[in-house]
């Protein structure tokens, strides 16, 4: 009997251990790779970004070159559209599984830096050379005096239009310093003469609203991180957009609701409008979608000529605070920003490079859309006001709320004022917390 007993418990112990192992592997299956390991002792880094297929192809090419120069490092890449990227990164970061190297938006820095997700680049000062960067631009990646993100390029907004169709319509072409009311008239005329809406409904875009607001001498946020505008301002903007939409001068709600941050799903990208307001570098995606090519024009100014658009650090690179290989991760950042060969490959796919020496050296060689972006930015050089400080952390969520509240207006379920009141209430709550 005692023998029997020991045998039994021995057997059940084995079984229990096996069961435990099985369930443990189930548990850990979720946590994924932590950067270590890989084939043949290679260092494996994860690098993620958002963007269009053109950017993806060129980024991959640059990464391949990096791997060639550093045979001991393997870089696993992934990319998606902005909306999807934003959600995925937030989930990964919250789960302590942020990619080693990540592309960040101006809106994300405050949130991730204060949440302890990002590495302070001062810890790897010897690996990353920022000597060639414009100090003012570099400062946009700082939170509480620490460099958590490195601006990768600068960009500005643009009215991007179908060159052939606009010209054929005979409507006066956009010029620098045109006002919002001139823009609205142009949209009406375009709609009348081409039978298509002139532009994407700007009401859904917090970015366009910001340009309009700055043209009126206000801002989205005050310096102490409160809302910089009132219900009246937003009502004014949404009434403006609502009226144009009802007249058919800008895209209908059914089109606008499909916007998800990719150029493919904009009315211009689908051939359902003549123009779109977008960021300059991502507009390269339109080249493949609009058969006769696109032109970049400045955003409208305030009625007194105050420019609303500004040069913004278009995106940043950050490294995870808990990256398995911080040094190699920062090496990749350095390569993407400072390597002349990488700069040649990347061109202006993320905007014009921030490394000033590289900017000058690649400028003559820029071609196609990169040249377009470069010339567009050059045409605005010196004319724009300074950028606002990094938006407070609630802004990322508010951007979505902005679209949603305007959806209520464009589907005619709320008046512009009702929606504006909703938005301001939610924004105040969001910024307070």
């Amino acid at each position: 009997m005692p023998g029997n007993r020991t045998r039994k418990s021995w057997r059940s112990r084995i079984a229990a251990a096996t069961a435990l192992l099985v369930s443990c592997s189930l548990l850990t299956a979720c946590s994924g790779p932590d950067g270590a390991g890989g084939d043949g002792g290679k260092v494996v880094l994860r690098y993620t970004w958002w963007g269009n297929p053109d950017r993806a192809a060129r980024t991959q090419e640059a990464v391949d070159l990096f791997e060639k120069k550093h045979p001991e490092i393997e870089v696993q890449t992934s990319f998606s559209g902005y909306d999807a990227y934003k959600q995925k990164l937030a989930t990964q970061a919250a789960g302590g599984d942020a990619p080693d190297v990540m592309q960040l938006d101006y809106r994300m820095i405050d949130q991730y830096a204060s949440g302890g997700v990002l590495l302070d680049f001062a810890e790897q000062r010897s690996v990353l050379d920022t000597g060639e960067f414009d100090a003012g631009l570099l400062a946009t990646g700082k939170v509480d005096g620490k460099q958590y993100a490195i601006p990768q390029a600068r960009g500005t907004e643009t009215v991007v239009y179908d060159t052939a169709q606009w010209k054929k319509s005979g409507v006066t072409l956009p010029r620098e310093g045109w006002t919002w009311s001139e823009w609205a008239d142009a949209m009406r005329e375009l709609a009348e003469r081409t039978g298509k809406p002139g532009a994407t409904d700007p009401g859904q875009s917090e970015d366009a609203f910001e340009v309009w607001l700055r043209g009126r001498g206000k801002s989205l946020y005050t310096e102490d991180r409160r809302l910089g505008f009132t219900v009246d301002d937003l009502t004014h903007w949404w009434t403006f957009a609502d009226k144009l939409r009802r007249e058919g001068a800008v895209s209908p709600a059914e089109q606008t609701t499909q916007l998800d941050g990719t150029v493919e799903n904009t009315p211009l990208g689908r051939g359902r409008a003549i123009s779109d307001s977008n960021w300059d570098a991502p507009s390269s995606g339109f080249v493949a979608l609009v058969p006769d090519g696109v032109t970049l024009a400045p955003m409208p100014s305030g009625e007194d000529g105050t420019p609303g658009q500004y040069f913004k650090p278009s995106m940043f690179m950050g490294v995870a605070a808990d990256a398995g290989h911080p040094e190699e991760s920062v090496q990749l950042v350095d390569f993407m920003l400072n390597d002349p060969d990488a700069a040649k490959i990347l061109g202006a796919t993320r905007g014009i490079p921030v490394n000033e020496t590289l900017r000058e050296s690649i400028a003559p060689g820029l071609k196609d859309f990169d040249r377009t972006v470069y010339d567009y930015q050059a045409s605005l050089e010196g004319d724009l006001d300074a950028p606002p400080q990094a938006p407070p952390s609630g802004d990322s969520a508010l951007q979505t709320t902005f679209q949603r509240d305007y959806d209520q207006v464009s589907y005619e379920r709320m008046s512009p004022r009702e929606a504006a009141e909703d938005y301001v209430t939610e924004a105040k709550a969001e910024l307070r917390s």
């Binding site: 548990l27 999807a84 949440g115 959806d407």
Partner: protein
């Protein structure tokens, strides 16, 4: 071990169950071993997160900074200050009321059709069941979005424009995806139908009852436990619908919040706006509501569900 050594056993019994008695003990141990993945899983993956979520529902938690205790604020905000919350409640209830009866109705009709089929029943049963296997996947939901988008198949055939971009229609596109997966309740209905003794129908025919009369007086009462089971199951699932709504609405519950189902808004609050405390509070309210609805269903079931064994009393 005490049971095996202390309990005297009679010879014949010992002969028939000699290995069984000590084995019973052994089996109990083995049972726990085999259960352990589930028990551990339930404890670590279900009970623990539930407890944490209950705690979080009383806090302000943005995923990055430590949770801050706010008492009932999440709950009061939800009920009194958040119009979008109530829109999500409205969308969910509309969906449940449309999708569940429609799905069960179709499942029952098809099951009745299959039951009277003499040949090829196996084939059709599998064919109708297939969508239930596929339907939960993201890819089908994406195909659904493409079908019902403007310029999609449905738009081209019916000229209705893109359903998924019209506030009044988008919810139906999502509901249709659920209804299309009627295979799972259908299989259960079919099994239930085959349990009904044929003598009942034979006796009814002899008495001259019409087909319709037989359906009302025999099929429905005899099937009522199965109907009840399906109703409870599908209602609970419908309240928690997420994947199809997420994909079909492009992840935003649009247009104009018309497909902003409860779980979608919960996800939005938690993972997009980083208000995990608020999202946790929403989850607990949902749990309580589903519990209450299920309890009501059980309560009403006394009046319409017929268990054959009751006939003996």
């Amino acid at each position: 071990m005490t049971t095996t050594t202390d309990t005297p056993v009679t010879a014949p019994a010992a002969r028939t169950t000699p290995a069984k008695r000590p084995g019973g003990r052994q089996r109990e141990g083995a049972a726990w071993v085999f259960l352990s993945p589930w028990v551990l899983g339930a404890a670590v993956l279900t009970l623990l997160p539930m407890a944490v979520s209950l705690y979080l529902s009383f806090t302000d938690y943005d995923l990055f900074n430590p949770p801050r205790w706010v008492g009932l604020r999440n709950y009061t905000q939800m009920f009194t200050e958040d119009p979008r919350y109530w829109r999500s409640v409205g969308a969910t209830l509309t969906y449940v009321v449309i999708a569940v009866p429609l799905q069960l109705g179709i499942a029952l009709v098809v099951a009745l059709g299959l039951k009277s089929m003499r040949r090829g029943r196996g084939f059709y049963r599998s064919a109708f069941y297939a969508p239930s296997l596929l339907g939960a996947s993201m890819s089908i939901a994406l195909v659904w979005r493409a079908l019902f988008n403007d310029g999609g198949t449905v738009d081209n055939l019916l000229g209705t424009g893109g359903w998924v971009n019209r506030p009044g229609w988008a919810l139906f596109a999502v509901a249709l995806l659920t209804v299309w997966q009627f295979g799972a309740p259908m299989v259960i209905f079919l099994a239930g139908l085959q349990q009904i003794p044929t003598e009942l129908y034979e006796a009814a025919s002899v008495d001259g009852a019409s087909r319709w009369r037989q359906f009302l007086s025999i099929t429905v009462p005899m099937l009522s436990p199965v109907i009840f089971f399906n109703l409870v199951l599908q209602t609970i699932q419908a309240f928690q619908v997420f994947t199809p709504a997420f994909a079909v609405s492009g992840g935003k519950g649009g247009p104009a919040d018309s497909t902003l189902f409860y779980t979608l808004y919960l996800y939005d609050r938690g993972f997009v706006a980083s208000h995990m405390g608020y999202a946790s509070a929403m989850a607990w309210v949902l749990l309580i509501v589903i519990g209450a609805v299920t309890a009501v269903l059980f309560r009403t079931s006394r009046t319409w569900v017929f268990y054959a064994s009751e006939g003996d009393r």
